[in-house]
């Protein structure tokens, strides 16, 4: 079964990526913390002309501690925070027919994926959209907007939920939660340290004897590199996070089609989401990369190309629809039910 093999490959790839991101971030934090210490240390050594005084690397320890604690908290609380930021309410006892249908559809897709039923959330927002979040299948949450419930029929709703279930099954939700936590820490730390530097300037300043020599040069190089990382870190980490999320949309489309065996329904759901686009009132930037379609309506998501590759959180909608229609065509062909017209 090729579909099954693809799934395991993807899960393995996501696990590898999760580890790679963790390692990268640990290295990055180490540099952010201990690199600062190194610069100060070298500067001090230059001042004392080779006599190296012992210095406790306090920047390193403070940064590492803050990073570890913040990352852990947002890893545990991230999914709830995302839901909270969109004003989503959990559907425990569905009231209307539409809500009942939504819960039914989520249950159906959980059965199809062989996973526990995720918690269902509704967002009061006219922009048709949906997203999934969580750390694994047991903590997964699927949220849809009221706008989506209004424009799609049952089949299309099923297709959208299947796409989100695909994110859950492929472990995309875990990777995205982790990345969001780590990127958040970087932004906070980078801002905080920038402010600290401005406040207590002159860490490297030459009080006392005039310093010179190769050690001071080294200190300056380390310090400049350190400063550049500090400034660029938030941008680079965001761009990396976007690339990760973009890759995953095509795959979730495919997994969704595999669950429903109905790629055409997802294609028409995406078309409806595209045409019924309304200004979003609830989905903020923090949740945008999780959504089935970019809620912020950024033009960059519509294009293929190098800039779009760098900045878009989603692949171009037209491309996704074309691929899904291709799948639907293959399915019809395989079943020998091609329309003759």
């Amino acid at each position: 079964m090729t579909a099954g093999a693809n799934l395991f490959e993807q899960q393995a790839k996501n696990r590898r990526l999760t580890v790679a991101w963790l390692v990268l971030f640990i290295l990055f934090f180490a540099w952010l913390g201990f690199g600062g210490d190194l610069a100060i240390y070298l500067a001090a050594a230059a001042r004392t002309e080779g006599q190296i005084p012992y210095r406790f690397p306090w920047i390193g320890f403070v940064v590492t501690t803050i990073a570890a604690v913040t990352a852990w908290v947002s890893w545990r609380k991230g999914p709830q925070q995302v839901l909270w930021s969109t004003g989503a309410r959990e559907l425990t006892t569905p009231q209307t027919f539409e809500e009942k249908q939504l819960v039914d559809v989520v249950e159906e897709m959980a059965v199809a994926a062989g996973l526990p039923k995720p918690r269902v959330y509704v967002i009061e927002d006219d922009d048709p959209n949906a997203f999934a979040t969580g750390r694994d299948a047991t903590t997964a949450c699927i949220a849809v907007t009221t706008g989506l419930l209004k424009v799609v029929n049952r089949e299309e709703l099923q297709a959208v939920v299947a796409h989100e279930m695909g994110h859950v099954r492929n472990l995309d939700v875990r990777l995205m939660t982790l990345i969001a936590a780590l990127v958040g820490v970087i932004v906070v730390l980078s801002n905080g340290m920038g402010r600290m530097l401005r406040g207590s300037g002159g860490l490297l300043g030459g009080r006392g004897r005039k310093a010179s020599g190769p050690l001071l040069g080294a200190a300056a190089v380390v310090f400049v590199l350190w400063l550049i990382t500090l400034i660029l870190a938030p941008f680079i980490s965001r761009i990396m996070a976007m690339a990760v999320s973009r890759d995953r949309e095509y795959l979730a489309d495919a997994t969704g089609a595999e669950l429903t065996r109905n790629p055409g329904a997802l294609a028409s759901a995406l078309e409806k989401i595209e045409t019924h686009e309304a200004p979003t009132t609830h989905i903020k930037e923090g949740a945008a990369h999780l959504c089935i379609a970019d809620p912020l309506g950024r033009d960059v998501n519509l294009k293929e190309g190098r800039l779009a590759d760098l900045l878009a959180t989603h692949p171009p909608m037209a491309m996704r629809i074309t691929r899904l229609k291709g799948m639907a065509f293959q399915q019809l062909k395989a079943a020998g039910k091609l329309p003759t017209a």
């Binding site: 079964m1 009942k100 039914d104 159906e108 199809a112 994926a113 029929n153 099923q158």
Partner: protein, 195 residues
């Protein structure tokens, strides 16, 4: 050098046997579990049907045959169910007949506008068609898992440990009834009104 090489070969083979054996057992349990998921949904459908029949009975005096067919198919399906993976074919046939009878009832119900507009009937119909979908998806999952289980135990070299793991070919739940294949078309009635 000789004994060490021999030892390494023995260890490698032992590790492979253990992992192949465990892989087969894991797939076997997944197959059994997937079958149980179908069973859960089938039971749910059996429980829902009397409710539906009682609700529509009054308004559908003239469709006694259709209703009776559903009731009969239900009791037949209940009698054949719960046989475990051994009786797949039998259960599949009886449940397929029930699906067909229900689909017919839904079509007939379309002719009674007051029935369709009743909130109670609408809810029941949604619940039943959702259960139908769950049965179909549970069956899809079962067939997928059972297929990879079957493939694994037949493929070389895993087939060498298949006997050790007491692996047997799991029967797939095939749709034989042609009427049942066409059920999704009937579901069109359940689409939400547009606009």
């Amino acid at each position: 050098m000789g004994p060490i090489l021999l030892l390494i070969i023995i260890v490698v083979i032992a590790v492979w046997v253990v992992s192949a054996y465990n892989g087969l057992i894991s797939l076997k349990n997944q197959t059994v579990n997937a079958w149980k998921q179908i069973d859960v949904q089938l039971k749910r459908r059996h429980d829902l049907i009397p409710n539906l029949v009682n609700t529509v009975k009054g308004s559908m005096e003239f469709e006694k045959d259709t209703l009776q067919a559903v009731v009969d198919a239900r009791s037949k399906a209940m009698a054949s169910g719960g046989g475990g993976a051994a009786g797949v074919k039998e259960t599949a046939a009886a449940e397929g007949a029930l699906t067909g009878a229900l689909a017919k009832l839904f079509v007939v119900m379309e002719r009674y506008p007051d029935l369709k507009s009743s909130q109670n009937v609408r809810d029941l119909q949604e619940e039943l068609s959702s259960t139908e979908n769950k049965i179909a998806f549970a069956r899809q999952l079962y067939n997928d898992v059972a297929t990879s289980y079957n493939t694994k135990q037949q493929q070389f070299p895993t087939n060498l440990v298949a006997g050790l793991a007491k692996a047997e070919i799991a029967e797939l739940w095939e749709i034989e009834d042609k009427a049942e294949r066409e059920v999704p078309a009937v579901d069109l009635s359940l689409k939400k009104p547009q606009g």
